[in-house]
Structures are given as C-alpha cells and as structure tokens.
Amino acid sequence: MTHHEFKVKWGMVIDLDKCTGCGACMVACQVENNVAPMNDASNKLRTLTWMLVYELSNHKDFPEHETAFLPRPCMQCGAPSCVPVCPVVATDKNEEGGIVSQIYPRCIGCRYCMAACPYHARYFNWLDPVFPKGMDKTLTPEVSPRPRGVVEKCSFCHTRLNNARQRARAEDVDPLDFPVEWYQPACAEACPTGAITFGDLNNPKHEVNRLIKSPYAFRLLERLGTDPQVYYMSRRDWVRYQGDNHLAHEKH
C-alpha cells in the first residue's frame, strides 16, 4: 500500500464518550448524499450506510456492563487498502485534502475494494435507487444518485469541500486554509452532542489538530498501517482497546 501525504488532511475526531448513538448523523448523511431509502433496511447486506453507528459492549455481565457507540464513516486512510486493488482507478487518493475518491461512472462493480477495506466502509448498490413518489424533489443538487452495480462510500461530503474552495477563491482566501466552519460534513453538522469534530488534521488553527494529540485519541485497527484520517477519543480503556481489535492474550 502506498502512503500518501498531503499538506491538508481533512479528518475527524469522534468523541465516543459523547456519542449517544442517536443516529442523526446517519440520517443527515443519507439526506445529503441522496441515498434512497430501502423497504427492508434490516437486511444489512443490502443497506447503504456511508456513516454507520456501531454499538460496542465491554462484554461484562450486569451490572458491570458498559455500552459505547462508534460512528464509522470512511477512514480516508493515508495508505488506503482499497485504492491499489481497483482495476479501473475508480477510487484514488490523489487530491489535496487526502479524501479517498470514488468515481461512480468508472466503477465496474467488481467489489475488490469492499473486500480490501478493513473497516467495511464501502457499499455495493444491489438495487437501483428508488425514492417514494415525489421524494426525489428533495434530492440535494450536487450528489448524483448511483445506479445498481456501483460501489459507493463516504466522501466527507466532498461537494461541500468544493463549495468551500470556490468560496475561498471568490473571497480571496487561501483555498488550502479557509475557516473550518466553511466546510463541515453533514454528519458533523447534525450531531446533537458535538461528538464529531471535523477539520484539517495538519492545521494548528483547527480543533482536530489539538484533539488528535490527546492521550485518549486512537484510530481503528491502527496496527494494520492504514493511517486513517478519522480519529476516535475515549477516556474508557476498554473502548480504546477494542479499537485495535486486540486478542485476549495480547497486552495493551
């Protein structure tokens, strides 16, 4: 896996001690990215959840049991597993900001990327998008609905980044260093507990730059070397340990 470095690295820090698992981020994501609703969404092999909130358990019996919730967008890895396996270069990490792209018209639906992604962040369209009658009037104007046979994933609401860059150029601001509130993905914007902080990981003016240095910050499956741009935080030891999928006999 090739490691990609950029001057700007858009990333998230998700505070798991604040996430109540309410699901507002998932709904806001679907609305922003024009994901069509499914009649039977309990079949999780068919659903499209660019953002998915997992429920974690410390696996202890009552009353020692603890619960945490873990929202999982695309990790926008520094060394993405999905990019080298794509036979048609439909996914790449080649743009300032470090967001792993997904170019739908190029995708041939082979799903190698899905097999390669250790975070299960990629989804295949088994069906064409069907919106209830009239609901297509509520499609947001910048994200095309994807047809059957195409893989899709979280893009950190990339169209919002484009808009922020355009605004920066229009207002004569450096397009690599504009105010962080100009570009926030839908999930971070909607989150009612402010669990998701978004910004440029490399920019000391952004909160995320401070948060990733916290002793409580960690990334998922860090030892795979994928270098995710999504960080998590928790003061609870067991939550951090589970983030690295440790085996029972391993020391932390």
């Binding site: 709904v27 609703p37 009037k137 909607a190």
Partner: protein, 721 residues
C-alpha cells in the same frame, strides 16, 4: 495492386493500433461506462438558487430549530439552526429526515370523508360544512364533543381549546407526557406556581432518574447540547452525569455511572436519597416537612429501599454523598419513555431538589412563569395540563363517562400510542363521528370518518413555547418554508374559519395573527433573544442581555425569545401524606417481569412513524424482517429458558405482543426492555407490519393517593412461542 492477406492484416492491426492513439476508444469506454449508469429511471438532480430559511421542525415532541436548505424554492434538507437556543445547531434523527417526510407515502392528499371502508376526497368547503353540521348538534351539551391534541407546547391548543369552549365542551386533552404529570404535581399536590424546568447548563452534577434525557425525554437536542458543552473534547469534564433506571439507555451509556433501579422503584429510590439528606439535617420550609421527614426516616431507610428497589445501601449512600459534595447538583426525574410515570416520582424528585436548596438557583430546578394566553376563550395552561386523557378514555371504556358524539384529534395518534392500546382503540372506535387533522394516514386517521390534513410542520405557521424540561422560558416560531405538497390547510386556520362560519368569535381571523399577538405579549413580558446571550449565562450572571424590542421580527429570522424570570413560591407542600400512599410498589406475582419501554427518536415518536430514511439506523438486534426484538439480560434469559433470537409472547393484564429476544447485559434482571415505535398497522410499506406495538402490553394502574393513571413499571409474563 490488390489487397493480399498480409496487406489486409497490416491494415487491420495498423488501424487498431492507430486508433489507440486517437481519443476514440477512450471516449467510447467513457461513454459506455456513463451510459450504462445513466438510465431514465435513475432520478436526476435539479439545480436552482440555494437559500436557507429558519423555522421549527415539529417532527419530535419538543421541536428542533432548523435551517431548511432550499434549491430553486424546493426544500431539500434540514440543518440545525445555530442561532436558535432550542437546538443550537444540532438535529434530532427525526427532524433530520423532516424535509423528506413532506413526501412520505403516508401523506394524506387532501380532505377526505369515509365511505364504507374507504375514503373519498372532498373539498375543504364540503368538509367544513359536514363538520359544522356535526358540531352544531353538540353545542351547549358538555360531554358530546372531545378533542385530543398531540402538541403540548404549541399555541394552536389555544385556538382549538377556545373553539371547544365556545361550543360548550370541556373535554380537551393532550396526549400524555411527563410535562403534564409534573404540572399536576407542582401546581396541585405541592401547591406550587409556574412551570418546572431544569437548568442543566449550569449544573455540575446531574442525576437523571428514569428520564432518558439524552435520547428522547424533554427537549432532547438542547439536553444533548448542554451535556456536550460540559464535556469539552480532550479535557476534564466540567460536569458529571449519573443515570438511574432499569436499562442502560443511551443516556446511561454516556453518563459517568448507571445505577440500575426497577421502573416501579424509581420513586422509592428518590425518597431513599431524600432520607440521607434529611438525616444530615437538610430541611425545606413547608408546612408538612415534619410529616415528610417522618415518612422518609421510617419508610425509606436504606435497608427498606433495598427491599423495595434491590439497590445496595452503600450505592445509595455513595450517591447521596456525591449529591452533597457537588456545588450545583440537579435531579431530573421522569418516566423512561416520557409518559405514565406517576405523581409520586415527580413529587419525590421535586422534594429532593428542594432539600438540596436547588429551587430557582443556577443549575437547579426552576419555576418559570406560565405561558401567556392570547385566545381569551382558551383553557389556561395549568388547566390544560391538569386533564388526564388516559383516565378519561378508561372511564369511557368502563361506561363511567359518556361517549362523545364527535371527537377531533390534532397531530396525535391515540389509537396507536396510548397504554393498553387495543382497549383504548376500542373506546375510541365507539365514538360515532371522529375527525383527524393528521398530516399522515396514521392508525387514528384510518379509524376516523373525516380527514382534514394539516400541512407538514415545514409548510405551516406554528410555534413552540417552553417544552417541558427546558430550564428557561423560550418561544420560537415555525413559518412555512414552501407551499404544502398536498391540498392541506392549517388546522388552526381551518378552525378559525369554521368558528366564523358558526358565528363564534375567537378574536382572530387567522393563525398568523394569533402568533403575532403571542409575540406582542411576550415582548411586553421582557425577555431577550438568545443569540445575544445564552439564557443560562444570563441566569448565572455570566452575561446580560438587552430586552428584545420586536419579538415577531426576531422570531421570523429564526431567533428564540427567552426569559430567565422565576416564580416565587408562597405555600409549597411536599405532599407527604400522598407520597406515603403512592410510592410503594405493589408486587404482582402472576406477572413477574417489569416492562421498560424505550422511546428512541430514530425509530419515531408518539405521533410519527419511522421516516424511510431512518430505517437504516435501526439495528438488526432491534428489528429484523417483520419481527422486533425485546431485550433481556442473560440472567433473565436463563431463568425463562430464552435463547438469542427466540420468538416470545409478552402477556400483560390488558394485552399481549410478540417479539424476538436479544440478550444484552444493558438490561437489569427482572426487566424486559421493549421498543416503542414498531407494529404500525397504518402508515406505509416502510413501517406497516414491522414488529409489534409495545403500547399494547402497557397496563394502566391507578396510583394510590393521587388517583393518577400510571403505566411505567407495567408487568408482564414471558413465554416462548
């Protein structure tokens, strides 16, 4: 010169290689990939000028302050409004799908009347004439007209209850909620004045007893924002949170501690905490303090509470110590699902806050002035909150109250969302003429004779005044973002027109002018816009704010009017005599398990079924295919021989429901956690027939001493099927 075989091969190969140096194959490949994904049935994007309009989305009970993003005038998405204190930029999962629900397949196209088993669309004039005819027959005969509203905080209640009063009817009820129980306790049992709220933002230790405040209780998003502000990322938390209740709810999951308490034991638990405070010398200046003291010192000693609740005395003492050590402790009590909690719990919670000296203190329990009234004929807020719908319907069911001739239901779904729902539905079905103002074909609308759909909350004028749980008075305006997608008419405007046609003068021509009058009244009360200073900072003295000059203009811009005024109390009581009778749970051995219903906003609310976009948020340990799950811990599962995924029947005294079992240690032994929001029989293909309705197994008991209807801690038995 002929073309020989070799020449032909040269031409073909050369041509093929040459073509590769032109854009033709690449253009073809590109076109092919585009056109194989470009079918006419794939929805196309529509572009247009973008704008944002601030309003209130009333999908959730409390209402979220939103900015609606429009493209070419079409609403496309809801975003939180950071300038409005009610949600401070956040969104609940229901309001996040609010725009999409404008095009829900369940939406009613226009006014309709029942013809045998189907509905026929009619005009609004025909509908008004039909209803006027029915209402004229009830004029002056109390008990012949009843109204149910599912909106606890809106001024529309003034229009509807004013209209009812003008027709001589007094049966105006709200769908049940903790706000009503709190009001009955504070202004009735305890002799207090004003509306009770909780200043979460200034508290340094908040103990939630029952109330799932960070998921669905009270003004959820504001609660979540207060929690968030006290937990700056990567820094030491500024405030602690403890949750006491039967299930490790979403609130408990992010709290510093979870204290497991049986649902029927919440009041005893709260009085058990009062014991330690009283023992340490805490007192309240009320006439009945001595009897209260005697009560807790004799009946709620740690060992007695252990017997009642199953909680170790050390845990209780440790908790009381934490409350004593905190500078600004706050106790927030409520039912786990926001209704049916009984008066004893509310009274015990208020007593605990009073014993800690937290009344009208920053970070404490606040008594706020009651909402002003603009429609003279309307019910006073206190009287509105005093009425008990469940008690009324039970009396009707048992023949103790007359069945009305006409029932009007506004934004409520009593056929689905009341305890022992099948019995309630039967009682409602007996009413000869039923009218629904619902936007959607819900279970109640499906039972009604006349459907008069009100526009979706983003298409109409509406408002929110201080939803229960808010620690300051607040008012925010909802205004139409677009024209109704269907032939709908605001129920308030329809009622005002109907009133006029029936020669009833409610003082207003349309609802917008009612709301304008409300704004004027609020302006006269003082208060300020919260974008200038946060009300909790004003309360604590950390900031000051200038009085709002034009409330209507500010509200149109999406600002919330706020006030931190408090009400002094003159003759408070602790309700000791009633508490002595009410707080003791009575064990019923034939139904050994307690139900703890969970209300999760991503699944829906009392009035709205799951929006299509929200289905993905439901885990497959909550709903799989057509079966919903109940949750029990390993100990309970072992006791009843239940395995993961087993199909079970839950039977209560007044109903039964079926579900699969998910085993999780989030639930305390002896308790079944059952989700609310499944088992719809109306609505649409996205929700209909999925899971079973937990409301069916909630059974109503009458609280000794207060007479309040209670359905928390409902009892059931469980059996494999």
């Amino acid at each position: 010169m002929g073309l020989d075989r070799r020449g032909f091969i040269h031409l073909i190969v050369g041509g093929a290689v040459g073509t590769l140096f032109t854009p033709i194959p690449w253009k073809f490949a590109d076109d092919l990939s585009i056109w194989t994904q470009n079918w006419p049935w794939i929805p196309r994007l529509k572009h247009g000028e973008e704008a944002r309009t601030a309003t209130i989305s009333k999908m959730c009970a409390a209402g979220c302050a939103v900015n609606i993003r429009t493209v070419g005038g079409r609403p496309v998405a809801a975003e939180g409004n950071p300038n409005n204190v009610l949600s401070q930029g956040g969104l609940c999962p229901l309001c996040a799908a609010g725009v999409q629900m404008m095009y829900s397949p369940s939406r009613l196209p226009g006014p309709m009347k029942r013809e045998n088993d189907s509905f026929k669309q009619i005009t609004w004039d025909e509908a008004a004439a039909l209803l006027a005819d029915k209402l004229n027959a009830t004029v002056g005969k109390d008990g012949k007209l009843a109204m149910i509203s599912g909106d606890e905080s809106g001024t529309i209640n003034e229009v509807l209850s004013g209209f009812a009063a003008a027709l001589g009817a007094t049966d105006y009820y709200l769908m049940p909620g903790d706000g009503q129980t709190s009001s009955r306790v504070w202004t009735g049992l305890m002799g207090g004045e004003g509306q009770i709220g909780f200043d979460l933002e200034n508290a340094d230790l908040t103990l939630f007893i029952g109330a799932d405040a960070l998921e669905s209780w009270g003004p959820t998003v504001r609660n979540q924002k207060a929690f968030s502000a006290s937990r700056p990322g990567g820094e030491k938390p500024k405030a602690s949170y403890i949750y006491a209740g039967p299930v490790q709810t979403r609130t408990a999951a992010v709290s510093d501690a979870w204290v497991p308490v049986l649902p029927e034991g919440l009041a005893s638990f709260t009085l058990g905490l009062c014991y330690f405070l009283v023992k340490n010398g805490a007192s309240v200046d009320t006439r009945d303090f001595d009897s209260f003291k005697n009560l807790v010192m004799s009946h709620y000693t740690p060992d007695k509470v252990e017997k009642l609740v199953g909680l170790k005395p050390d845990t209780l003492q440790d908790l009381s110590r934490k409350l004593a050590q905190a500078k600004r402790p706050l106790v927030v009590v409520g039912s786990e699902f926001g209704q049916g909690g009984g008066q004893a719990l509310q009274a015990a919670g208020a007593a605990l806050n009073l014993l800690m000296g937290r009344l009208n203190q920053p970070g404490g329990m606040i008594a706020m002035p009651e909402a002003p009234k603009v429609v003279d004929a309307a019910l006073d807020r206190k009287d509105l909150l005093a009425k008990d719908l469940v008690s009324y319907l039970m009396n009707m069911e048992k023949g103790r109250a007359a069945t009305p001739d006409v029932l009007m239901v506004y934004e409520a779904n009593p056929v689905y969302a009341l305890p022992q729902s099948e019995a309630m539905a039967k009682a409602l079905a007996k009413i000869p003429f039923k009218v629904s103002f619902s936007t959607y074909m819900d279970e109640t609308a499906a039972l009604c004779d006349l459907l008069l759909p009100t526009p979706h909350s983003l298409e109409r004028f509406d408002d929110v005044y201080t939803p229960h749980g808010l620690g300051f008075s607040a008012w925010a305006l909802a205004k139409p973002v677009s024209k109704p997608a269907c032939d709908n008419l605001n129920s308030a405007d329809f009622t005002l027109k109907l009133a006029k046609a029936m020669n009833i003068d409610l003082g207003f021509e349309d609802f917008e002018s009612v709301l304008q009058a409300k704004a004027e009244q609020l302006g006269a009360m003082g208060g300020f816009f919260a974008d200038e200073a946060a009300p909790w900072d004003v309360r604590s003295g950390a900031a000051s704010a200038e009085a709002a000059s034009d409330v209507w203009d500010g509200a149109q811009e999406g600002k919330a009017w706020c006030s931190v005024a408090t009400v002094d109390q003159r003759a408070l009581r602790l309700g000791a005599e009633v508490l002595a009778k009410a707080a003791q749970p009575s064990p019923d051995v034939s139904y050994p398990l307690s139900v703890s219903p969970t209300l999760q906003l991503n699944v829906g609310s009392q009035k709205v079924a799951t929006p299509p976009q929200n289905l993905t948020t439901i885990r497959n340990t909550e709903l799989r295919g057509k079966a919903s799950f109940v949750q029990v811990c390993g100990q309970t599962a072992g006791k009843y021989g239940l395995s993961e995924g087993a199909m079970v029947k839950l039977t209560g005294p007044r109903g039964e429901c079926a579900a699969k079992v998910h085993i999780t240690e989030r639930v305390m032994p002896g308790v079944v956690e059952a989700p609310l929001g499944f088992g719809h029989s109306a609505w649409d293909a996205y929700t209909r027939g999925k899971g079973d309705n937990t409301y069916k197994i909630l059974s109503v008991t009458t609280e000794p001493g207060t007479g309040e209807t209670v359905w928390t801690g409902s009892k059931v038995k469980i059996a494999k099927i």
